[in-house]
C-alpha cells in the first residue's frame, strides 16, 4: 500500500504543470537571468585603463618630469599601464570630454597644472591622485637638490644631483602583502539564494501531496481517508514522493548552474549534497505545516508558501546581497531563524571560509527547524476527525 500510494503521489505531482513550472522551470529561468545580468559586474568593477587626454603645449613639452611620468603610465606594453593617453590640442580635448570619450584632461600652465574633468568619480579621483603624485615628486626633487646644496658642496653637478634624486624616488619601494581570501565573488550569493528559493519552493510540492490525502481539502482526500489504510503510511508515502520530486528538481538546477552557468559552490561535493538535502527537508516541512496547520483553501495555502519563501529570500539577499549583510550585522536573530538564510550562509561558508564550523552550525539549524515544523504538523494531523465536511 505504501508503494502504491508513493507511486501515484509521484505521478500526480508530475502531471501538475503549474507545480512543475514554479518548482522546476522558474528557478532555472531566474538563474539564467541572473547570469545574464550579473556576469559582468565584477569584471567591470575592476580598475580599467582610464582614457585621458593631455594638452600638448609648450609648457608640457618642456616639463620633463610630467612628460616622462605620463609616458610610463601610458605605455601600452607595460603591465603598469594606468592611462590610455591622447595627446591633443586644447579644443580637441574639450570636445573629447563633452563627448564622454575621456575621463578628463591635463592642462599644464606656467604656474600650475590643471586637471579638467566633467564630473566627480573614481576615475577622475585616480587621475587627480596620480597627477598630484607627479607634482609632489617634482617638489621632492627640488627639496633634494636644495638639501645637497645646503650641505655645502660647491661644485654643483646638477645632472648628478638630479640623477640621484630620481634614483631615490624610484627606489622607494612599497612592500604590501595581499592576504585576502581568493573567493571574493559576491554575486555568488545571488545564486545561493536562488538554490534556497528552489529548496523552499519545494514546500509547494509537499503541500499539494498533503492536500491530496486530506478529507477537507479534496475529493480525492475523502476517498483516501475512508479507505482502510493507516494514515501514517499514506502521509509518509506522499511526503516521500514530494521530497524525491523536490530533489530531482534541485538536482536539475544544480546540474544547470554548475555546467552551463559555471557557478562555484566550493569543492566539497558531499557537503553540498548534504546541505541541499537538509535545505529541501526544511522546505518540505514548511509545506507540510502549511498543509496541515492552516484551515484555508489550496490557493491561499500556496500563496502563504510563495510569499513566505519570497520574504525569506529577500532577507537572505536575493534582491540585493547587502540585505543579508545588513540583517546579519544588525539583527542577526532574524537570519538565524530564516531557513533561506541558513541555506545561503551554508553555501557561503563553504565557498568563502576554510573552516567548517559555520557550515555545520547552519546544517544543524536547518535540521532543528525542519524537525520542529514536522512535529507540529504531526501533532495537528493525528486523530483528525470530521463531523461534517
Amino acid at each position: 500500500m505504501f508503494l502504491h500510494n508513493f507511486k501515484y503521489s509521484f505521478l500526480t505531482l508530475f502531471r501538475n504543470k503549474m507545480l512543475i513550472f514554479w518548482t522546476f522551470a522558474f528557478p532555472i529561468i531566474l538563474a539564467t537571468f541572473f547570469m545574464m545580468a550579473f556576469s559582468n559586474i565584477e569584471k567591470k568593477e575592476q580598475l580599467d585603463i582610464i582614457d585621458i587626454a593631455i594638452v600638448e603645449n609648450e609648457e608640457f613639452t618642456n616639463n620633463k618630469i610630467l612628460n616622462e611620468a605620463f609616458k610610463v603610465l601610458g605605455d601600452k606594453n607595460s603591465k603598469e599601464q594606468l592611462f590610455n593617453i591622447k595627446y591633443t590640442k586644447l579644443e580637441d580635448a574639450k570636445k573629447l570630454l563633452t563627448d564622454g570619450e575621456i575621463s578628463g584632461y591635463l592642462l599644464v600652465k606656467k604656474e600650475s597644472t590643471e586637471v579638467i574633468v566633467s564630473t566627480s568619480g573614481v576615475n577622475q579621483t585616480i587621475l587627480k591622485q596620480v597627477t598630484d603624485e607627479i607634482i609632489q615628486n617634482q617638489k621632492i626633487m627640488e627639496k633634494i637638490v636644495e638639501n645637497e646644496t645646503v650641505n655645502g658642496i660647491y661644485n654643483i653637478d646638477y645632472n648628478k644631483i638630479y640623477e640621484n634624486a630620481i634614483k631615490t624616488i624610484n627606489e622607494a619601494e612599497v612592500r604590501l602583502e595581499n592576504v585576502s581570501n581568493k573567493n571574493l565573488s559576491y554575486t555568488m550569493i545571488e545564486f545561493y539564494s536562488l538554490i534556497a528559493m528552489a529548496c523552499l519552493y519545494g514546500g509547494i510540492l509537499g503541500l499539494s501531496s498533503i492536500n491530496e490525502v486530506q478529507a477537507n481539502m479534496s475529493n480525492n482526500g475523502k476517498r483516501v481517508q475512508v479507505s482502510p489504510v493507516s494514515k501514517s503510511k499514506i502521509i509518509l508515502g506522499s511526503t516521500l514522493a514530494s521530497y524525491i520530486a523536490q530533489l530531482i528538481g534541485l538536482a536539475i538546477l544544480f546540474i544547470y548552474t554548475v555546467f552551463v552557468l559555471k557557478i562555484d559552490y566550493g569543492s566539497n561535493l558531499l557537503l553540498i549534497i548534504l546541505l541541499s538535502l537538509v535545505g529541501s527537508l526544511a522546505g518540505l516541512s514548511i509545506g507540510i505545516l502549511v498543509g496541515s496547520g492552516f484551515k484555508t483553501n489550496e490557493n491561499a495555502k500556496t500563496g502563504i508558501i510563495l510569499s513566505y519563501t519570497m520574504f525569506c529570500c529577500f532577507l537572505s539577499g536575493m534582491m540585493g546581497i547587502t540585505m543579508k549583510y545588513i540583517i546579519d550585522k544588525n539583527i542577526p536573530i532574524i537570519n538565524k531563524l530564516n531557513p533561506a538564510s541558513m541555506i545561503v550562509d551554508g553555501f557561503y561558508s563553504l565557498y568563502y571560509y576554510d573552516t567548517l564550523d559555520r557550515y555545520f552550525f547552519n546544517v544543524i539549524s536547518l535540521v532543528i527547524f525542519a524537525c520542529i515544523l514536522i512535529l507540529i504538523s504531526i501533532y495537528s494531523l493525528r486523530r483528525q476527525k470530521y463531523d461534517s465536511i
Binding site: 576615475n123 592576504v179 557561503y348
Partner: protein, 382 residues
Amino acid sequence: MTVFNTFLKILNKNKFIIIMYTVILITFAGFNMKTSDNRLSFVSSKPDVLVINNDENIGLTKDLIEYINKNTNIIDIEDKKDNINDALFYREVNYIIYIPKNYRKDFLNGLNPKLKIKTTGDYQASLAEIILSRYIKLANIYLNINNNEDEIIKNINETLKSKTNISVTSKLDTNNLSKATYYYNFANYSILAGCVYVICLILSSFREEKIRKRTVISSTNMRKYNRCLMLSNSLLAIFLWLFYVLLSFIIVGNIMFSIHGLLYIINSFIFTICALSLAFLIGNIITNKNAINGIVNVVSLGSSFLCGAFVPIEYIPNSVLLIAHIFPSYWYIQNNEIIKTLEVVNIDTLKVIFINISVIIGFMMLFTIISNIISKRKTKTK
C-alpha cells in the same frame, strides 16, 4: 457602467498585488538613494578602508593613520570572529590595512617592513592602494634623506600639500539625475509586473467561459462592452502611472521640476501605454489565471534583468544587450540613460529620444494588432 463596476470589483480584489509592487518600488528606490547635496565642484571619491593597528599609535604610525583618515572613509568594524572577512566579502570595506607590531621602529631603522592588506580587487580598492602607496613612498624617500622622525613627518605633510587644480565642466546635477534614472528604471519592473499582471487577471475574469457566454447572449452592445473594458483598463494604467510619477516627486525631489524631469515623465507615460497593450496581448492569448502568473513573472523579470532595470546598464554584457533590443523596456531604459547625460536640450539632442520613443510606439502598435487578430480568431472559432 455595469462593466466598469465589475472592473472596479475585480480590481478591489486584486489590490494587494498593486500595493505589493509599489512597496517593492519604494523600498528599492529608497534603499539605493542616499541623500546627497547637489555639488558642482569636484569631490574626491573615498574608498572604504579599515585600518587595524597593532603598533603604538604615535609618531609615524599615527601620522599614517591620520593621512588615511583624511583621504578615505574609515570604517570601524569590531574585530570579532568572521566580522572583518564578512565585511570585505559584502563590500562594506574595500581595503583592509594591517599595521604590524613595531612597524614604526622597524621603518625608522630602514627595514621597510611589510604591510599586510586585504583587498576586494575593485577600482575602489585600487584607489585605496594608490593612496596608501603614496604615503609609504614619501616616507621612504625622506627616510633616505634624513632619518629624524619629526623631520620626516613634517616633510611628508609639506609635500602632500602641493596639489593640482581640478575643475569640473559639467553643469548637470549628476547626483540627482542618477537618482531619477534609477527610480524610473526600476519603475519598469513595477509597471510591467504590477500593471500588466492586474490587467491580465481582470481580462481573464471577463473572458471566463461562462461569463463570456452570458455577456455575449445579453443585450449589451459588444462594441460598447469592449470599448468600456478598454477604457477602464487604460484608466487603471494611467492612474498607476500618475501615482508612480507623484511618488517620484517625493522620492527623487526637486530635479523632477526641471525639463529633465518632464522628459522622464513623458518617457514613462509612453512606456505605460505600451505595457497596457502588452497586457491586452497576454490577456488575449492566455485565459488560465495560473499561467498568467507565470508568464507575467517571466516577461517582467526577464526584460527588467536583461535591459538594465535592476543592474546599471553599463555592467550588462553587450551580447545580452543585443538580445534586449527585442523588449520595449530596452528603449525605455535607454531613454532614461540618455536623459541623465543630456547637457543641452534642443531639437538635435532630443532626436535620439524621439527615435527611441517611436520604437516603443511601434511595439505598442504591434502588440495591439496581434492581440486584435487573435481575439477575432477566437470569437470566430467559438
